[in-house]
């Protein structure tokens, strides 16, 4: 336990220690342990229904584990009161699987939500001009500025995800959690979303957990970097910095069965991993 406590450094954004989660008779997570370091990208792989989304919800304190401990920015959140979680959640961004945009608010109001809330809380006083400028800037980042006044119902699936990414990026969080960001999207839109994820990693240096069951996406994150001059992805050097900062986690039977580099993942002889790679 002492060694574990020593390992929880300030450089860590999220740490799970033997986290278990069950619903009634069924235990979905049976001892999940991993850590997300600053500037690092974790790709959480696993088949549908393996509990990947639950890991993200646990990390945000939206669900409570049955046992085990979860640390956010070095602070134990396992038994933290909901009110005390809000300041910590404010340092994280999340992109939900279906976008989870507020359907009665426009794209502008959705993206500006956190800034408007900060104003309600009496924290940072953002003027209307500042908020609009910031929203436009982040919408330009996801290439959706023309849709600023639209309602979510008027957007396509891919556009909703991009608004979700803009909403997560608006306050420049320390880390972003992506829940199946390309799930159910066509290859072209998926590529756009993946480019945005890599762009935010390489341009804004945001830590991230990307949940996906698509292996091709996982290797895109590991093997590409964003070229700001050309405004597109290009292959990373074999031993490039960005590639080294991406780790793969495989969630299997409720626990992390693999935690390592993409290269080690490919070299795994385990039949389950081989089937995943096939």
């Amino acid at each position: 336990m002492v060694a574990g406590a020593a390992a929880r450094t300030n450089a860590e954004v999220i740490r799970f220690e033997d986290v278990r989660l069950g619903f009634g008779d069924r235990e979905v997570l049976t001892g999940v342990s991993f850590a997300l370091g600053r500037g690092e990208t974790l790709v959480l792989l696993g088949v549908t229904g393996s509990g990947k989304t639950l890991v993200l919800k646990l990390a945000l304190g939206l669900l409570r584990p049955t046992s085990g401990r979860i640390f956010l920015f070095g602070q134990d959140i396992t038994e933290l009161e909901e009110e005390d979680l809000y300041p910590l959640r404010a340092r994280l961004g999340i992109v939900f699987q279906e976008g989870a945009l507020f359907d009665s608010l426009t794209v502008f109001e959705n993206v500006a939500f956190r800034l408007l809330e900060e104003r309600e809380h009496g924290g940072e006083e953002h003027t209307d001009e500042e908020i609009e400028q910031r929203v436009r800037q982040v919408l330009r980042f996801v290439e959706l500025e023309p849709a600023i006044d639209k309602l979510p119902a008027e957007l396509s699936g891919g556009m909703k995800r991009r608004v979700g990414i803009a909403r997560a990026l608006i306050t420049e969080p320390d880390a972003i959690l992506y829940d199946s960001p390309t799930g159910g999207l066509d290859p072209v839109t998926s590529h756009t979303i993946n480019t945005l994820i890599i762009k935010s990693r390489d341009v804004s240096h945001v830590s991230a957990i990307v949940v996906t069951h698509r292996l091709q996406d996982a290797f895109t994150y590991a093997n590409h970097i964003f070229d700001a001059t050309a405004n597109q992805l290009r292959p990373a050097r074999t031993n490039g910095t960005q590639a080294a900062r991406t780790r793969f986690l495989l969630l299997r039977d409720g626990r992390i069965s693999f935690d390592g580099s993409p290269r080690d993942f490919q070299a795994q002889a385990d039949s389950y991993v081989q089937r995943f790679l096939a």
Binding site: G24, E82, Y86, A90, F96, Q97, R114
Partner: protein, 289 residues
């Protein structure tokens, strides 16, 4: 563990120690009954906690004034047409039914007294609350329920905003402040409806109707008529929020929650109305109002 994912407290504590020896079917029935009652107790606990938080939020920022005013418009102004129409016709039918009896006993002047007291004390607050329950409790439950199933509530929590502060408290404040105003309007329009029938249909003296109505209402009647809507407003809004925020099972669950919210709010209003009446009548008697 019990069925349907509800941990069986009784089995764990050994209250049903002979569980293993029972026939399988009996175990199933016991577990179902156990889970049913435990589910109900947990729902009451959740509702109580939500109600408490909705009140506690009033004393800590942020207070979401804009959201509260917007809800006042939706709940108060939005309910005005149905409440006005219903109040007027209830007053009208009251006169229609009672005036005939009073004429038969030779005291038609008492019609104004009866209509005024019945409207202000009971019919106005209860009917207004039931109408608003049908419109507002269902609206709140379906709106919040849809937000739950589309993960908007989770998104709100993840973005650092407390849904009980942003969504529940503004709706509670709006309903609690709007229902008394709606009740006063319903009471007044009920008297107007009564006047129209008493004058144009029954042929009573209009001045006598209004004077008798005005004089019949005492301070204690007003206390009853105004206290009740505050309590009913709290019931309508918190029940709507509770069923909305505890939706399970997708869009079908939203439909179920909407129906449950209206049914539970309506029944609670009628039950609580009896106890408020009992307490207030005693209070009025003691205070000499």
């Amino acid at each position: 563990m019990g069925r349907n994912g509800v941990p069986s407290l009784f089995f764990r504590t050994g209250l049903f120690a002979a569980e293993q020896a029972r026939p399988r079917a009996m175990q199933g029935v016991a577990a179902t009954v156990n889970d049913f009652f435990k589910g109900k107790i947990l729902a009451v606990q959740d509702y109580t906690l939500l109600s408490w938080r909705s009140l506690r939020n009033l004393f800590s920022p942020p207070r979401y004034l804009t959201d509260t005013l917007s809800q006042m418009d939706i709940i108060g102004v939005g309910s005005l047409p149905i409440v006005a129409l219903a109040g007027m016709f209830i007053g009208a039918v009251l006169v229609l039914q009672t005036a005939d009896q009073f004429v038969r006993f030779g005291s038609p002047a008492l019609t104004g007294d009866v209509v005024a007291i019945a409207l202000v004390r009971e019919i106005g607050p209860v009917i207004t609350a039931l109408l608003v329950a049908g419109r507002v409790a269902s609206g709140i439950a379906s709106e919040l329920g849809s937000m739950v199933v589309s993960e908007q509530i989770d998104a709100m929590r993840a973005l650092g905003t407390d849904p009980t502060k942003k969504l529940v408290t503004p709706r509670v404040v709006a309903t609690v402040t709007m229902l008394p105003l709606l009740t006063i309007i319903a009471d007044f329009l009920g008297l107007v409806g009564g006047f129209i029938v008493s004058y144009f249909v029954v042929g009573l003296n209009p001045v006598q109707y209004w004077v008798r109505s005005y004089n019949a209402i005492e301070f204690g009647d007003g206390v009853q008529g105004i206290t009740k809507p505050f309590v009913f407003g709290f019931i309508i809004s918190t029940i709507g929020c509770h069923f909305g925020l505890t939706v399970r099972g997708g869009t079908e669950g939203v439909g179920r929650a909407t129906t449950q919210a209206v049914v539970v709010a309506s029944v609670l209003i009628l039950v609580v109305n009896f106890f408020i009446a009992k307490v207030l009548l005693r209070l009025i008697e003691v205070m000499g109002w």
